[in-house]
Point group: C2
Chain length 373, copies 2
């Protein structure tokens, strides 16, 4: 399967996301045609490099491409300006020039970090993304976001840098830890809730196959989510309008992540965030009654949390104030009107004022496991 990502307003930067079991074997031929370069730098965390690094380098060299493997320590803690600087210094020490290409091979951290290296090395060199986690395949493949974290916030510095090509090979997910598989499912559920009822239902029906890593089911899941996200991003390249629907679950999700000291993974936190935000949406009258029950049912089938695990309601509510999207005091959440459709307000905006007392009530109701709000 293949999804064409149209990158308005710069259509020349449009690219393909190719999704197919076994497609990693085509990497060398494909980069040669869409990202011809003098030299290739494959950037991967140590664990991914141990699994796939040697094979990728061998394949590239086998077709005559000059390729080097650059590794870094795995983990979200490596997504820093220091590691970014070190990788660019290593490229310079290896005398990579402007006619180089970066191949980012790993999960979301790698895509963001190696993508930011590509965005900034000699003012930008092409990048090919080879996501190795489900979350990276469905979320990071589209949008061109790159960046690193600072102590002041996640992705505080970064750039938009569209890849030349994304190769998503569901066979790579065989080695993915369970928690990371579920994190990707949470993001797919988000797309279903906000964009397509049939897709939402399909995830519920095929949850067992997806959790068993059936390649055909995962291929359909990735292709569906990538296509939804590509359509939303193409219609709103500057994140000024409808693209905000993709933030569903993230206002509370980010707050829960931060409040846990990042012990919660992003996807798990987003699942919890969706539950709380839908509860808040129902309290506000924005979201149809009964939506929370349907969401919880599919989350359970996907082995995802059906309630927030919070220790301090006050801290979570306070953390939402630091959210980038909260321009003033009241947090704004992207909310569904019902399963499969995002809600806009009377002014046509895709986020909704969510007073802290409503969030607190939603948190309290859902953290206790109550379904009726």
């Amino acid at each position: 399967m293949k999804v064409r990502v149209e990158t308005t307003p710069q259509p020349t930067a449009s690219y393909d996301v190719v999704i197919r079991a076994g497609v990693l074997a085509e990497l060398a031929d494909r980069v040669r045609s869409v990202a011809a370069a003098e030299r290739y730098a494959v950037i991967a965390p140590g664990d991914v490099a141990a699994l796939y690094g040697a094979g990728v380098i061998r394949d590239l060299r086998a077709v005559g491409l000059a390729a080097e493997l650059l590794t870094f320590e795995p983990g979200e803690a490596q997504k820093t300006r220091a590691v970014w600087a070190e990788l660019t210094d290593r490229l310079a020490a290896l005398e990579f020039g402007r006619d180089s290409c970066i191949i980012a091979c790993g999960g979301g951290v790698t895509g963001d970090l190696a993508g930011f290296v590509a965005a900034t090395y000699m003012r930008g060199v092409p990048v090919v993304q080879v996501p190795t986690t489900l979350l990276a395949m469905i979320d990071a493949s589209v949008g061109g976001k790159t960046g690193v974290d600072t102590s002041a916030g996640k992705n505080l510095v970064g750039a938009f840098h569209q890849p030349r090509l994304v190769l998503a090979d569901p066979l790579l997910l065989k080695t993915l830890p369970d928690a990371e598989l579920r994190a990707g499912l949470a993001e797919a559920v988000k797309h279903g809730v906000m964009l397509d009822r049939a897709y939402f239902d399909w995830i519920g029906e095929r949850a067992d196959e997806l959790l068993a890593r059936d390649a055909a089911a995962l291929e359909n899941l990735v292709a569906g989510s990538v296509a939804f996200k590509a359509a939303v991003v193409a219609a709103d390249p500057f994140e000024t309008g409808r693209r905000a629907v993709l933030n569903f679950g993230h206002t509370i999700g980010h707050a829960l992540e931060r409040q846990s000291g990042y012990a919660l993974t992003h996807g798990i936190a987003v699942a919890m965030g969706m539950v709380v935000e839908v509860a808040a949406g129902q309290l506000l009258g924005v979201t149809e009654p009964g939506t929370l029950e349907q969401l919880v049912s599919v989350l359970r089938r996907c082995d995802l949390p059906d309630r927030p695990h919070v220790t301090s309601l006050d801290q979570v509510v306070a953390a939402t104030r630091l959210d980038k999207k909260a321009r003033n005091a009241a947090p704004r959440c992207a909310l569904p009107r019902e399963i499969g459709a995002a809600a806009s307000d009377s002014a046509g905006r895709w986020t909704h004022d969510t007073p802290e007392n409503v969030l607190a009530a939603a948190l309290e109701a859902t953290s206790a496991g109550a379904r009726n709000v």
Copy 2:
């Protein structure tokens, strides 16, 4: 005067360069209309901030805009990832959000450094450039290049980030050190040599007025160079073809700069580089005989060096090998065919193989002050 910079392939990023004595006083009104933001951060080196910082902040606040002044130590040595990181940390500490705008107020270092801050803070915020040196007005106003230096090279990391607006006020040049004024003139001479004979002649005729900082003459100079550069950049946004003509003087200029330990300013080094490269062009038969004499005559009228100051020919030649543009062993130079016209080779390329022995002969002939090569 106003030059519209068309930024293909992303026409929505097109912007104006406004060139007029006294235009700085219009900054607040103009940024309000072309770069509306919640908050403005004026980034300037300490020396520029001392001259203009308080006035700019006062003007912005007078029309109701929220503005803060962020300063850094002056000097090329500050154009680093460390200072970039510090500036972004200060923006974060001051809680600047995505709806902020950077106003870069200073010379080339400031434009590059503050531009890179703008390019990367929260994945990019708008930037308005207020160049305060002649070189920055005529060279950095067009092209959207931002970046910082590393030990491995100048501008080794950076990004393309088009400004929303450039305000070039020749009155600011009253306080510019002589050496920096001449550095800007060198860049303007480069445009004349490669692009327009009448402009070249005009610089020679008006050199005295330009050196005396006559505002009307400087306005014409800046407007001319900006218009030439904008036309070249618009026709070749990705620097794959004709834009290379702007590198005239830079292959040798960069090598001389590096070999001097950056004791030579960029503009002075480029003047010397033009002399050597034209001599090489004549030796190669690419450049018409007599071109060197005309170049030297105008450089002298502009109080610019008419020969390279070199201590080691071998080191200069070796340094050209490290040039980004030298893809293989032989350096490639952008050369004029005659004054006012760049030379392309039979394959339509705008740079020319310049063997090291030819460069060495050109260096030797010109450093001795010989005019006939």
